[in-house]
């Protein structure tokens, strides 16, 4: 409901769009219209331009480079829409609407946080880690994947420590990322994005040691701008729109079990 919205709807040139891990793609766009405005945790609606698939897809920003006027989206092919995205060739234009959402609550971070990402929830956390490092607070980063890890090198340049877990043991600890996150009391907050089960586990853990936990949520979206009331989460007993009020919430304010 904010009136100071500065979202833009425009065609951006695809500079590159390639597979960086199995079913994970990285798309870099020339988007000087927004590159300087993107905040960590915000996302774009990506328009597919396909008659049978009407709805734009919400994809988080993994990076933004104001100097070069570029933004980067890292996404997983999970269905027909993201498959169509993966097939978009470099050199062509794609329409996007961005930036959307509130982003992570980084202003309040004054001491080392734990950044925890799971799977395709990892990309938006890179921008958060970068922003924190830029203000002199290098986070400890915990990343969990089913198998292939992504963005580890990028996190290593801005994190104090990077801890990896994979379910199949192919990289780092064999098991869940939550098993690596001990001594949570050392951290001011947990900043997280990933599957619902991970976010719920982090919410419970953060509550048990009495530290704040911010979670970035995803949901099926229609419009992306707040009009369709399609993407909701229960917050203090009422449904609020994830695109307009989130996607980042304080974990203790929302019901992560639907």
């Amino acid at each position: 409901m904010s009136t100071d919205v500065t979202q833009k709807f425009f065609a951006a040139k695809i500079l590159s769009n390639s597979e960086v891990a199995s079913d994970i793609f990285s798309m870099t766009l020339h988007a000087p219209e927004i590159a300087g405005d993107v905040k960590p945790g915000q996302f774009a609606m990506v328009y597919l331009g396909r008659g049978e698939m009407l709805l734009p897809r919400p994809i988080s920003f993994c990076d933004a480079n104001p100097a070069e006027g570029t933004v980067n989206l890292v996404y997983q092919v999970v269905g027909k829409g993201t498959k169509a995205m993966a097939e978009m060739p470099a050199g062509e234009n794609v329409k996007i609407l961005a930036p959307i959402g509130n982003g992570f609550f980084l202003d309040r971070i004054t001491a080392t946080p734990a950044i925890v990402g799971g799977g395709i929830g990892t990309p938006p956390l890179l921008l958060a880690a970068k922003a924190l490092a830029a203000k002199g607070i290098k986070p400890d980063v915990f990343l969990g994947f089913r198998s292939n890890s992504i963005l580890v090198k990028e996190f290593e340049t801005v994190a104090r420590n990077v801890y990896i877990a994979t379910e199949d043991g192919s990289h780092g600890h064999k098991g869940y990322v939550t098993e690596l996150l001990k001594n949570g009391n050392n951290y001011q907050e947990i900043i997280s994005c990933g599957p619902a089960a991970l976010l719920q586990a982090l919410k419970t853990y953060a509550a048990s040691i009495n530290i704040p936990c911010q979670v970035s949520l995803e949901e099926r979206m229609g419009c992306g701008v707040g009009t369709c009331v399609g993407c909701v989460v229960k917050m203090y007993g009422t449904f609020v729109r994830i695109c307009a009020h989130g996607p980042v919430f304080d974990a203790n304010e929302v019901d992560l079990n639907g």
Binding site: Q7, M53, L54, R220, C228, V229, G230, G258
Partner: protein, 302 residues
């Protein structure tokens, strides 16, 4: 001579026939970032009830081939909040304001209509066709007796012109349209969404939290157009036609079938500037075909 795009819905003059469909445009604020709301004929606000409604559990949205299912369930903050928070914004623009009324009982509908006593709006749209609320909603819109009764009940308590929004989930759309006309409706809008479903075969569960929902989008356009055509031939009321309109050609089809105005719904999600592109496309069509007045082509299909 300048072309005429003005149309008359129940005595209310719209600057052009382009309307936004309820529930797809909120009150216009979000889309005012991308288009000039002054260039719309009317904005139909999201459905509003007397008391706040919580809506259905997520997921509420499922994309289908050329369409979209929704089961939002008319979540809204209630008429009082709408009047205080949304209406002043809408009133800054020349677009006419259509307020979509929701309820579960006749008493609910009467109460929300009365919430607008003395409030500056242009038209009511009576939503007796939403498939996503358990009582009221579509139940009233699929029974001719109930449709007539609720229409009359609201006409008895308001002077604001009343458009009745029809459900396509009926055997005979003309019968319902005539019932609304008999109840005193000043206009009709059609169609609301068609009941539909989608299943996640991997999880063996419906995608929508509400299991079933309402289908809209280009996939339903031929059905909507057929119903507008049949109803326009059978009743003597202005019609706002809707259902999958996403291009100027679609809008012109509905007008030729008998619609006085056309409403654009989820095409706004696919292209936030689509209403302006439709308007420009209609003007270009009129230029090319030497049409001076948009009303000339209304209902030209025999």
């Amino acid at each position: 001579m300048a072309k005429n795009l003005k149309v008359n819905i129940a005595g209310v003059i719209l600057n052009n026939p382009i309307v936004t469909a309820s529930g797809t445009f909120n009150s216009g604020k979000e889309y005012s970032q991308f288009i000039d709301l002054n260039k719309l004929g009317a904005i139909t606000a999201k459905g509003v009830s007397h008391e706040p409604w919580q809506g259905n559990p997520p997921p509420r949205i499922a994309e289908t081939h050329g369409g979209m299912l929704n089961a939002v369930g008319l979540q809204n903050y209630g008429a009082k909040a709408f009047i205080q928070e949304d209406l002043p914004f809408m009133r800054q623009y020349s677009a006419k304001v259509i307020v979509n009324l929701c309820g579960r009982t006749i008493e609910d509908y009467v109460a929300v209509a009365r919430d607008f006593d003395g409030v500056d709006i242009d038209l009511f749209e009576l939503n007796i066709s939403c498939p996503n609320v358990k009582a009221g909603g579509m139940a009233m819109g699929t029974d001719p007796k109930m449709a007539e009764e609720v229409t009359r009940a609201i006409k008895n308590v308001t002077k604001t012109p009343l458009i009745v929004k029809l459900s396509p989930n009926v055997t005979n759309i003309v019968e319902i349209a005539k019932a609304a006309e008999a109840g005193g409706a000043d206009g009709l809008s059609l169609i609301n969404t068609l009941l539909g479903m989608q299943i996640d075969i991997h999880r063996r569960k419906p995608i929508l939290g509400n299991k079933i929902g309402g289908l809209s989008g280009p996939a339903i356009k031929p059905v909507a157009l057929r119903m507008v055509y049949q109803v326009a031939k059978a009743v003597n009321l202005p019609i706002i036609g809707m259902g999958g309109i996403s291009a100027a050609e679609d809008a012109i089809e509905f007008i030729m079938a008998g619609a006085t105005a056309v409403a654009v719904g989820i095409a706004n999600f696919t292209n936030p500037r689509v209403t302006m592109e439709i308007l420009e496309g209609i003007e270009a069509f009129m230029d090319k075909n030497d049409i001076q007045d948009i009303n000339e082509i209304r209902g030209v299909i025999e």
